[in-house]
């Protein structure tokens, strides 16, 4: 008896036994199948943001993560303050240099040590 023949014999025997199952057994089998289908997990589509929130809850919930997050925020704030500070300094320099370079007092008069000395002598 080869493998195919054996399979065919098993199928014939099982089909024949199907007719022997009584109505009560069939009903229990049907109910069991329906219960199994009812509890089967349905695949659900999660929004991206919900996924991100879940990731944050899982990975940023630890004290170490919160510490890193706080340090990062502090560094970002420090960088912003330094940027604002530099910006206002450059703005101030730009204003002074514009006035100085356009003034009718020549730049040489501001730098000549001899003139400074002469002003002192002639006061």
């Amino acid at each position: 008896m080869n493998e195919l023949h054996f399979g065919s014999r098993v199928r014939t025997l099982l089909d024949r036994r199907l007719t022997d199952i009584d109505t009560g057994q069939l009903e229990r089998l049907r109910q069991a199948r329906e219960r199994a289908l009812a509890v089967q997990k349905q695949p659900a589509h999660q929004p991206v943001l919900a996924g991100a929130g879940r990731f944050a809850r899982l990975h940023l919930g630890s004290p170490r993560s919160r510490l890193l997050l706080a340090a990062g925020a502090l560094l970002a704030a420090t960088w912003l303050v330094a940027y604002w500070h530099a910006d206002s300094l450059i703005e101030e320099l730009s204003e002074v240099d514009t006035a100085l370079l356009a003034d009718d007092v020549p730049v040489e008069a501001l730098l000549d040590a001899g003139f400074e000395s002469w002003l002192g002598d002639s006061r």
């Binding site: 004290p63 170490r64 510490l67 706080a70 340090a71 502090l74 560094l75 704030a77 420090t78 303050v81 330094a82 940027y83 500070h85 530099a86 910006d87 300094l89 450059i90 703005e91 101030e92 320099l93 730009s94 204003e95 002074v96 240099d97 514009t98 006035a99 100085l100 370079l101 356009a102 003034d103 009718d104 007092v105 020549p106 730049v107 008069a109 501001l110 730098l111 000549d112 040590a113 001899g114 003139f115 400074e116 000395s117 002469w118 002003l119 002598d121 002639s122």
Partner: protein, 158 residues
């Protein structure tokens, strides 16, 4: 954990304080500014005396000159001409010389108009002195451009 957080907080705060107390590095951290070829035609015309050295300038100096170019547009023609004539000379000064000139200029700006006019007249008279006399006067005073550290700021040196 709280101790480690406090240490991290202190480190970050000290960085912030250092950035505020030392304007030099903060100014040096200016974001990249446009190259000469990226300036518009009007900016190039105003800043023409700086064309050769523009691409070698530090970012904070480019930003400062762009601010000057912005103000230039609203100036009377006589002031515009003076400013442009002095650009190259000013850019060639050392940071210490620029610092000294700004300090002196701030003093002059505070003078009343009569004193200011008198000073300009004295400058005219001084220029008429013989070179020998000027050299003697210069030798009497220590060279400009070496002001005391206590009166300077990092930004002024730019």
């Amino acid at each position: 954990m709280a101790r480690r957080f406090a240490l991290a907080l202190a480190a970050a705060l000290s960085l912030g304080v250092a950035a505020a107390a030392e304007p030099g590095p903060a100014v040096a951290a200016t974001p990249p500014q446009p190259a000469w070829s990226a300036l518009d035609k009007e900016q190039q015309a105003i800043l023409a005396p700086l064309a050769d050295e523009w691409d070698r300038m530090e970012n904070y100096r480019r930003k400062k000159w762009l601010g000057i170019a912005q103000r230039y547009r609203a100036m009377p023609p006589a002031d515009q001409q003076r400013l442009q004539e002095r650009m190259r000379t000013w850019a060639a000064l050392t940071p210490e010389q620029r610092l000294a000139a700004r300090q002196k200029y701030r003093e002059i700006k505070k003078m009343d108009p009569e004193k200011r006019a008198a000073m300009k007249e004295k400058w005219r008279q001084y220029n008429a002195l013989p070179e020998e006399e000027k050299r003697r006067l210069r030798a009497e005073r220590p060279a400009q451009g070496k002001p005391s550290e206590s009166t300077t700021t990092g930004a002024d040196r730019r």
